[in-house]
Amino acid sequence: MTLLQLIFLAAAALTLGAAVMVVTTSRLVHAALWLILALAGVAVLFALLDAPFLAIVQVVVYIGAIAILIIFAAMLTRRVMQDSGRQTTRTWWLGLLAALLLFGGLVVLVLQVPGFQAAGGAAPDPQANLIDLGRSLVDVNAFILPFELASVLLLAALIGAMFVARPESRKPPGGKSGTPGGEA
């Protein structure tokens, strides 16, 4: 067993353990913190897969933006669902059954396909790889259209999020602007 395999096993155990805590712990903020740990474990796995750029993006986008957004939402909606309340649905065992069945099926499938035993071959040069990735995102013959679509999607999603989450009844500017109230 090589050092890389040991690192992989440690990162995998960290990721899976943190993920299990995310779905089982009853305190929502704790679940968000465990989610950060799981995402960090996935970042380690990206680094092991010779994709350092994706590891950095994982830290910046997932941990830096998405997890923080989730923590904000958990804190903003904290009052309604006290941590002592019931956190799982009545049919949680059905969900567990479905997840276990799917996992069993996937394991059988993965172990049966012969091509999946392939060794990786030589590691790609990370610098050339990153340059290649950057060029292909703006290359007319490669991925410029999906890239632009993704940016439009992000812009639309952010404007939509601002529109959806704005306060419900805003007073018209000419009206009784001096009185407090109207905030949700």
């Binding site: 309604v80 172990l111 990735l133 999607l153």
Partner: protein
């Protein structure tokens, strides 16, 4: 060298944990966390396939970048919806948000 199968099994396990979270949690924010776990599992799968089966073609990484963008928009819109629902109905419990239930 780490076998590809290890990565696939790990991402299958991560996906199933996420599915369990989505199916069993009552809190809408916790459901979104399960979705994030599932998206991460998919990303891990994509990058592992890129690294082991076709490291010369960059498409695998581009796919992962697209998944990042979609995950960010999904989180923003989802959390905005949850906060909006919380404002109007004072609940984030998924089974109480049943206005459109037949």
């Amino acid at each position: 060298m780490i076998p590809l199968t290890w990565y696939l099994l790990l991402s299958a396990a991560l996906l199933c944990i996420g599915i369990y979270g989505v199916l069993s949690r009552r809190n809408a924010v916790a459901i979104l966390m399960g979705i994030e776990l599932m998206l991460n599992a998919v990303n891990l799968n994509l990058v592992a396939f890129w690294r082991y089966l076709s490291p010369a073609v960059i498409s695998g990484q581009v796919f992962a970048v697209m998944v990042f963008a979609v995950a960010a928009s999904e989180a923003a819109v989802g959390l905005a919806l949850i906060i909006s629902i919380y404002r109007r109905r004072s609940t984030v419990v998924a089974e109480e948000i049943d206005l459109m239930k037949w």
